[in-house]
Symmetry: C2
Subunit: 246 residues, 2 copies
DNA sequence: CGCCCGATTGACAGTTGTCAAGGAGCGTGG
DNA sequence: CCACGCTCCTTGACAACTGTCAATCGGGCG
């Protein structure tokens, strides 16, 4: 599926070209990026980096999904970031990874060697500007997430997560999806629990409850059908229009 | 206290000059900033902006403390940001405030008209670079905060907040504070509850519990004494060294 | 076929929220 | 100067939600 990217190796043909950190680059800037880039592939479940590890690259997610998470000594884990295609991984100026990064599906990264990338940021404005924009978006997303973690009930948390994923799917396909929606959960129950600050049992119970109340329907464990999207939004606890970013 | 700033009106004499968004500016860039800046003062408890409001400025906090928060329809409120002196308020490219901003002490802002500030970001690199750095720091802080909200117990939450505040105080005074620490809580119990995703009753009970266990001592309601800082850190649930940013 | 992993469900316990009463500090006004 | 009212905080009793522990289910794969 992502093999095309490897073959092409050409930014112009890149599927995330218009959304990634390189989105605003001029042709000469792209050339400089091409010089320092290389692709890496990770299989589902594989750890990409561990928090505290040396990290001598930054990267764009080309395909697949990865998570950022923090663990406490006793094993409690909180996901703090969900990386989708076009999202940026790593921080210029930081040598060690701050979080654990895990592939939750097969993942292809477009990596840039850190040092040259940092120089590039200093000297060309378009990468830095785009990175600022993306970081501000991530910060907004983190703040929505904080509301979910701090103040929502388990049921509202699950509904919120479903709504977020449904919106992203819709955004990717550029389809408004009429009224209903149908999407695939990219996360296991455990990943959902780590995302929402719950246990897997509570996640499972609340999904069953939403199913029982006909807010959602399931096909298998992963495919979700939402007959009335507004009904789902009402369950998130957000106001009518919903301000969920991302 | 902040009156000096108003009198001077001179960036060179500004107390946050070296940490704010203007930290890396060259003299000519500072001049351009001076042209579009103006000071505003808010009293403790006053709302600075409401989420959704038109906002035609961005700003640096010169003195005092302000909070960013989101409210749900039914009144549940989650704080999503705590603005201290030198922190940045607002987002270039955004017309409407995304969050409620409230002064929790008397606050002085150094405001920049939004449009000219956005132009400045496009044309001069140093403001944008510094803003990127600050935004990345905020994102890290938000992610630490997410771990607190999602996975820590009420007791750990309170201990974490105390540790964060104590560290900030120490950073401001550039003092290492030997082993013990002594600081003033800048937040009401309600603000602490909104910060931590708790109720004021739980906040109050856990503070009492930490007091009873001699982890902290109180002078009045706001002044906190920490006889053994490592003991407090142990209560946060973080590993030995603790990775708390900010 | 049997194993394994992820998911579901049940019973119960524990933490935190809710509701309610009362205390402490502080400014105002008699 | 004291009383009053106000706000913020504390504490108690109880309820509710979510976590814990355990058993079971179901699909995929060797």
């Amino acid at each position: 599926m992502a093999e095309l990217v490897f073959d092409a190796n050409d930014c112009a043909a890149c599927p995330i070209r218009h959304r990634a950190v390189c989105a605003r680059c001029e042709p000469d800037e792209l050339e400089r990026l091409e010089e320092i880039k290389y692709y890496r592939h990770f299989e589902s479940g594989q750890h990409i980096v561990w928090g505290g590890d040396q990290m001598d690259f930054v990267a764009s997610v080309v395909s697949g999904i990865a998570t950022l998470s923090q663990a406490m000594e006793d094993g409690r884990t909180q996901m703090v970031g969900l990386l989708l295609p076009s999202d940026f991984l790593g921080r210029p100026g930081r040598k060690e990874a701050a979080y654990d990064v895990t592939a939750v599906s097969d993942v292809t990264l477009c990596c840039f060697r850190r040092k040259p990338f940092e120089q590039l940021i200093e000297t060309t404005p378009h990468v830095a500007q785009r990175l600022l924009e993306m970081t501000l978006d991530e910060l907004d997303a983190a703040r929505e997430w904080m509301l979910i973690l701090g103040r929502k009930t388990a049921r509202e948390k699950i509904a919120s997560l479903m709504a977020i994923i449904a919106r992203r799917e819709a955004a990717l396909r550029m389809s408004k999806a009429a009224n209903g929606a149908r999407f695939e959960l990219p996360l296991t129950r455990e990943a959902m629990a780590d995302y929402l600050g719950l246990t897997i049992e509570t996640v499972s119970r609340q999904i069953s409850a939403l199913k029982r109340d006909n807010v959602i329907a399931l096909e298998g464990k992963r495919k979700v059908l939402v007959p009335d999207f507004n009904r789902l939004l009402a369950e998130t606890g957000d106001d009518a229009d919903g301000g969920l970013l991302i």
